[in-house]
C-alpha cells in the first residue's frame, strides 16, 4: 500500500517512453516494409537500396573510416587510459577531466574550427582529415570505459604475476590487457557505430566530397523516408547484435560506460 504512491510516479515517463521511444521505433519498422504509396513490401526497399549506385561507395567509405577511427582511437586511447590510472601521471584526477572537456564543446564548432586550422595550414581535405575529425570527436568515448575498467583491476593480480616471475611487460600483456577487455569492447562499440553514422563531420572535413552512412541517411530523408527507415532498421539490427556480443564479454557488468 505504502509503495503505491511512489510506483505511480513512474507512469508519466512510462507514457512518454511509449510515445516517443517505442512508437517511433515501431514506425521505422513499419516504414521499412512499406513502399512509397503505403503498400506492404517485404524486401522492396532493401532491393531499391541495393540498386543505388552511391551506396556501395558509401559503405566502403564507412567501413574504412569506422575501422581506422576505432583502431587509431584504441592505439591512442589505451595508453592514455592506462597511464592516467597511475598516480604519477594523474595525481588529482584533473588530467582525465582535461580529456573529457572537449566532449562538452559543441562538436560542430570543433569540426568547423578544425577545418579552419587545416585550411590555414594548407592541408588538403579528404579521407585523412575526415578520419582525424572522427578520432577527435570519439577519442574520449574510447578513453573513458578503458580508464574505468583498468581502475577497477585489483593491483594484487599484477603484483602476483610479477612475484611469480613475469616481467612487467609480460604481466601487462598477460594480466592487465585481458582484464581490461570489457573496457576495450565497450570503447570499440562506442566509437565504431557512432563514427560511421555521424553526420556533418564528413561533409565539413571533406568539403562535401565524401559520404558516410549518416550523411547518406540524411540525404535520403528529404525525398524517401522509406529507404531511410530501411537503412535505420538495418543499423538497429547491427547495433543489437553488437550489444549482445558486448554483453557476453561484460557479464559481470563492469564494462564501465561513460556515465
Amino acid at each position: 500500500m505504502r509503495n503505491t504512491f511512489r510506483k505511480m510516479l513512474a507512469t508519466p515517463y512510462a507514457l512518454f517512453m511509449a510515445l516517443f521511444i517505442i512508437l517511433p521505433i515501431v514506425l521505422i519498422a513499419v516504414y521499412a516494409f512499406m513502399d512509397k504509396d503505403g503498400a506492404f513490401t517485404l524486401l522492396g526497399n532493401f532491393k531499391d537500396l541495393a540498386e543505388k549506385e552511391a551506396l556501395p561507395k558509401v559503405i566502403k567509405n564507412s567501413v574504412i573510416a569506422g575501422l581506422s577511427t576505432s583502431v587509431i582511437c584504441l592505439l591512442i586511447g589505451y595508453p592514455i587510459a592506462y597511464y592516467l590510472t597511475k598516480k604519477e601521471f594523474n595525481r588529482t584526477g584533473v588530467m582525465i577531466g582535461l580529456f573529457l572537456v572537449p566532449m562538452w564543446i559543441n562538436f560542430l564548432l570543433r569540426m568547423v574550427s578544425t577545418k579552419a586550422v587545416f585550411t590555414a595550414l594548407n592541408i588538403p581535405l579528404g579521407m585523412g582529415t575526415v578520419i582525424y575529425g572522427l578520432c577527435y570527436e570519439f577519442l574520449p568515448f574510447m578513453i573513458m570505459p578503458i580508464y574505468t575498467t583498468i581502475q577497477k583491476i585489483d593491483k594484487c593480480y599484477i603484483e602476483g604475476a610479477e612475484d611469480l616471475g613475469a616481467t612487467p611487460i609480460k604481466a601487462f600483456w598477460k594480466v592487465t590487457v585481458p582484464l581490461s577487455m570489457p573496457g576495450i569492447i565497450s570503447g570499440m562499440t562506442m566509437v565504431i557505430i557512432p563514427s560511421i553514422t555521424t553526420f556533418a563531420v564528413t561533409e565539413i572535413l571533406s568539403n562535401g566530397k565524401l559520404m558516410l552512412l549518416g550523411d547518406y541517411i540524411y540525404s535520403l530523408r528529404t525525398y524517401n523516408l522509406n529507404l531511410a527507415s530501411a537503412i535505420s532498421l538495418a543499423l538497429m539490427v547491427l547495433l543489437a547484435i553488437s550489444m549482445i556480443i558486448t554483453n557476453k564479454f561484460n557479464k559481470d557488468e563492469n564494462g564501465g560506460g561513460i556515465w
Binding site: 505504502r2 509503495n3 504512491f5 511512489r6 510506483k7 510516479l9 513512474a10 508519466p12 515517463y13 512510462a14 512518454f16 517512453m17 510515445l19 516517443f20 521511444i21 517511433p24 514506425l27 521505422i28 516504414y31 595508453p79 592514455i80 592516467l84 601521471f89 584526477g93 580529456f99 573529457l100 572537449p102 562538452w104 564543446i105 559543441n106 562538436f107 560542430l108 564548432l109 568547423v112 574550427s113 578544425t114 577545418k115 579552419a116 586550422v117 585550411t119 590555414a120 577519442l139 555521424t198 553526420f199 556533418a200 565539413i204 568539403n207 562535401g208 549518416g214 540524411y218 530523408r221 523516408l225 531511410a228 527507415s229 535505420s232 543499423l235 538497429m236 547495433l239 550489444m243 556515465w259
Partner: protein, 275 residues
C-alpha cells in the same frame, strides 16, 4: 626517467591536438584577421560588435541564441521532472521484469545511433501532424516539437543520475515521515527530493548542455529554426568558416560551458575521495 618523459610528451601532444582548434578560435576572436599570416594585433572589436549588434551575423546570432536557450531551458525542465519521477517510481517497483523493461527502454536513446533516433522521431512527428492536421509551422509549434525531441534523449541521463542517489539514500526516512503523519506527496517533497537533490541538479545541467549541443536530431526534425548548432552548420562551406563575431560568441560560450563542467564533475570527485 626517459620513459616517464616519453609518456608525458605523448599525453601532452594528444591534449594539445584536442585543444588546438578551441585555442585557435579563442586567439583569433581577439583579432580582426582569420589567420597568422596577416596578424594585426590584439583587439576587443569583435566582442564590442557582438554586443552592440553591429556584426555581420548579428540578427542570426540573436535569433539562434534565443531559440537555443528557450529550447534548452524547457527541455531541461521537462526532462528533469520526467526523469526524477521516473527514477523514484522505478526505485519503488519491486517486480524485476517491469524494472528491467523500464530501464532497458530508458537506455534505447542513449545506445541507438543519433541519426536513427532522429529519423524515428521525424516519422512520429509526420504521423502526428497528418493525424491531427496540425502543420502551421509556427515558431511555437517548432519549438515544442524540438523540446519534445530533445527531452526524449535527455531524460535517460537524468534518470540515470538520480537513480544511484535513491539507491544510496535510506528508505526508512520516507517511512518515518509517513508514520509521523505526512501525506505521501508531502513526504516526497520534504524528505526524498532534498535527499536526491545533487543528482537532480546534475541531471538538469546535463540535459541543458546536451540540448544546446544537439545538432543531428535538431537538423532532421525542424526546418527554418535557427539554433547555435544549425548556425554553425550553415557556416561550414565558407573559405574562412568562422566569421569574427561567431568566434567571439563561441569563446564566451566555451568559458560558460567550462564553468558548468567544473560544477558537474566536482561533486563526483568529492564522493570518490570519501570512499
Amino acid at each position: 626517467m626517459v620513459r616517464k618523459i616519453a609518456i608525458i610528451t605523448f599525453i601532452a601532444i594528444v591534449l594539445i591536438l584536442l585543444y588546438l582548434p578551441i585555442v585557435w578560435m579563442i586567439v583569433f576572436s581577439f583579432s580582426d584577421t582569420p589567420s597568422f599570416s596577416n596578424w594585426n594585433g590584439f583587439t576587443f572589436q569583435n566582442y564590442i560588435d557582438l554586443f552592440t549588434g553591429q556584426s555581420s551575423n548579428a540578427e542570426r546570432i540573436q535569433e539562434a541564441v534565443v531559440n537555443t536557450l528557450f529550447v534548452g531551458a524547457f527541455t531541461s525542465l521537462l526532462s528533469t521532472i520526467l526523469g526524477t519521477l521516473g527514477a523514484i517510481g522505478l526505485h519503488a517497483i519491486h517486480s524485476k521484469r517491469i524494472k528491467a523493461a523500464y530501464s532497458t527502454v530508458n537506455q534505447i536513446p542513449m545506445i541507438n545511433s543519433e541519426i536513427v533516433t532522429a529519423i524515428a522521431l521525424a516519422l512520429l512527428f509526420t504521423l502526428i501532424s497528418t493525424t491531427f492536421e496540425i502543420s502551421s509551422g509556427s515558431w511555437l509549434e517548432t519549438a515544442i516539437k524540438l523540446i519534445l525531441a530533445h527531452t526524449t534523449f535527455c531524460t535517460p541521463y537524468v534518470l540515470l543520475n538520480v537513480l544511484p542517489r535513491l539507491q544510496k539514500s535510506d528508505n526508512k526516512i520516507y517511512e518515518a515521515a509517513l508514520d509521523l503523519g505526512c501525506t505521501p506527496a508531502k513526504a516526497m517533497w520534504k524528505v526524498v527530493i532534498p535527499d536526491i537533490m545533487p543528482g537532480i541538479v546534475i541531471g538538469a545541467l546535463l540535459s541543458f548542455t546536451l540540448s544546446i549541443d544537439d545538432f543531428i536530431i535538431t537538423k532532421i526534425n525542424v526546418t527554418s529554426f535557427e539554433t547555435l548548432s544549425t548556425l554553425l552548420y550553415g557556416l561550414k562551406s565558407g573559405k574562412h568558416p568562422l566569421p569574427a563575431d561567431i568566434k567571439a560568441l563561441f569563446t564566451i560560450i566555451f568559458f560558460v560551458v567550462f564553468a558548468a563542467i567544473m560544477i558537474i564533475y566536482s561533486p563526483k570527485k568529492k564522493s570518490q575521495t570519501n570512499k
